[in-house]
């Protein structure tokens, strides 16, 4: 579904490349964690898949086609096949839950009847039945992220990209979000999730691709993500979770107990 062939991305000649000769393959229906510290290249990788950035060297294939060869007027079609979820939800504050999700269908010209059928269905999938008419500020963070996920999948994309979707949520809420993403994955959608939340990675036991300084340093099926594996990007910057000391066995417990190590910001 997504293939990177020796992809290098350089934003600015004087600094090190954001991605350095990255090669990877994500198959249809896979669930992949993209882990690594901030600045390791996770977001760049996601932007390359969306053709928001162009690879400096190497080739990116999405659903079989070379992204660099897609003419600009066909880029919207590429993006219709990819749902995206962000850490900051990006909902429209003046629209209701229903309208936020429907917006994604309206702008690509779906008929009113299709929208009326699809939106309640997808809201049920993410566990938001009966909250159609709420405004985003009347929802909790976890619920807002569920709306964002509903919007990302309402057009039934083959790929769902999630860039730190649990970054703003507490561990319990994060677990709920992970269940939703897992359910979407079970329905056949390829899910790529960038995160540096090791508790979640360890609890899910999915494929883990670890990036460090723009290079793939690890690619494991049913992998784990040890906090000790995290290296500072710049030696002076320090690690993000210096206190974290979770291991494989403790990870599941930590997720359930809501260990502060698992989250950056709690609601």
């Amino acid at each position: 579904m997504i293939t990177f062939d020796n992809v290098t991305k350089v934003y600015d000649r004087n600094s090190r490349p954001a991605l350095n000769s990255v090669s990877l393959d994500v198959d249809r229906g896979e669930f992949v964690f993209l882990v690594g510290a901030s600045g390791s290249g996770k977001s760049t990788l996601i932007r390359l898949v969306l053709k928001e950035e162009h690879a400096t060297r190497g080739t990116v294939y999405v659903a079989g086609s070379n992204v660099a060869k897609i003419p600009s007027w066909r880029v919207p079609r590429l993006r219709r096949g990819i749902g995206v979820v962000f850490q900051d939800f990006r909902l429209l504050p003046n629209k209701t839950v229903f309208a936020n999700v429907a917006f994604a269908m309206q702008v690509i010209g779906r008929s009113r009847a299709v929208i009326r059928d699809s939106v309640p269905e997808v809201l049920k999938t993410v566990g938001l039945e009966g909250k159609d008419n709420r405004l985003p500020h009347e929802l909790s963070g976890g619920e807002q992220q569920r709306v964002a996920i509903a919007r990302a999948i309402v057009n039934r994309p083959g790929i769902l990209l999630a860039d730190e979707p649990t970054g703003n949520l507490d561990p319990t809420t994060s677990l709920g979000i992970m269940k939703v993403l897992d359910r979407i994955n079970q329905n056949g959608t390829t899910v790529v999730m960038a995160t540096h939340d090791h508790d979640i990675v360890n609890a899910m036991r999915k494929r883990v691709i670890e990036l460090r300084n723009g290079k793939v340093v690890r690619d494991e099926r049913e992998g784990i993500y040890l906090a000790t594996a995290m290296q500072p990007v710049v030696p002076a910057a320090g690690t993000e979770n210096p206190a974290a000391d979770s291991n494989d066995a403790a990870a599941g417990d930590a997720l359930r107990q809501g260990s502060p190590a698992g989250s950056e910001v709690s609601e």
Binding site: W73, P76, R79, A104, V107
Partner: protein
């Protein structure tokens, strides 16, 4: 569905930026009114030229009693002098230059004078013998006035030869300057309009950046993302153009109508000319807004 969506976006965009939209309407209104005024003046000039150049002639004024000009030192024109002039005008030598010759005696001259100065008190104090007899000569080519002037101005009994076109040229050059000034103002206002539309679109794009960002992500086409902004500008400019057309029509209808009643001898353009002009204004307004908003969007909305 998509059209309904685009229309809804335009509506919300206009509501959000109402004051800017109103200023775009006013600026395009004023600038297009000046464009139209310049156009109407040019039309008026052309109409008057067409009307007058057919009628305007070279006048060979003959001497009258008590004439003060040096060429008439010998007193009023005699019958022999008059017939000599007439013979020369009708001779084969001048046939190639002269279209028609028409003699105007003093009584007719008084009649024309009274007509022309109907509203002036001078009419009552002028008598027929004060006005010169005139040969009105219309030329095949109005530019060949000098030939006639050289041949006749020194003949005895001729007071002067005048090309009436010269008088009109002054009027036309004045009107040309007026239409040039209107055009310069129009260009300045159009520059203002373009910059204002660009600023409005930029503000509008900024205030809706969240929406456009999401539209991009879910794969909305470039047209769906940009159309509401472009149409917002185009609608504002179109309203301005309609107002400008209306104003020009009103001016043509009432003001020129009033002038035409006062000066029935002059050919004035009518409100019909505005109908020819207003489609040009509408197209100009649309192009103006469309092009400037597209150029702005290319810089401020990534697709």
């Amino acid at each position: 569905m998509r059209m309904a969506f685009v229309l809804g976006e335009i509506g919300s965009g206009i509501r959000r930026n109402l004051s800017m939209v109103v200023s775009v309407i006013l600026v395009t209104f004023v600038s297009l009114t000046f464009v139209g005024a310049a156009g109407l003046l040019q039309m008026q000039i052309n109409q008057m030229k067409g009307y007058w150049y057919d009628r305007v002639q070279v006048a060979v004024f003959l001497c009258v009693d008590n004439d003060v000009s040096p060429s008439c030192a010998s007193g009023a024109v005699t019958d022999e002098q008059r017939s000599a002039i007439e013979t020369k005008l009708n001779s084969a030598e001048f046939e190639q230059y002269i279209d028609t010759v028409h003699f105007e005696d003093q009584a007719t001259a008084l009649g024309h004078f009274r007509e022309q100065f109907a509203n002036s008190p001078i009419v009552d104090s002028v008598t027929a013998d004060q006005l010169p007899e005139t040969f009105r000569v219309s030329l095949v080519d109005p530019e060949k006035y000098e030939v006639i002037n050289e041949a006749f101005s020194s003949m005895p009994g001729v007071e002067s030869v005048s090309d009436q076109r010269e008088l009109l040229e002054k009027v036309f050059s004045f009107m040309n300057i007026a239409s040039l000034v209107a055009l310069i103002i129009a260009v300045l206002m159009l520059v203002c309009a373009i910059l204002l539309i660009a600023t409005t679109i930029r503000l509008s794009a900024f205030s809706r950046r969240r929406e456009t960002g999401i539209m991009r992500l879910v794969g909305a086409s470039k047209a769906v993302i940009q159309l509401p902004f472009v149409l917002e500008g185009v609608i504002a400019a179109l309203i301005g153009a309609v107002l400008a057309s209306g104003t020009l029509w009103a001016v043509a209808h009432f003001f020129i109508g009033m002038l035409a009643r006062q000066y029935p001898a002059t050919a004035f353009i009518s409100a019909r000319e505005v109908l020819l002009l207003s489609p040009i204004l509408l197209i100009l307004g649309t192009l103006l807004a469309g092009v400037s908003s597209l150029l702005t969007l290319r810089r401020y909305i990534k697709v």
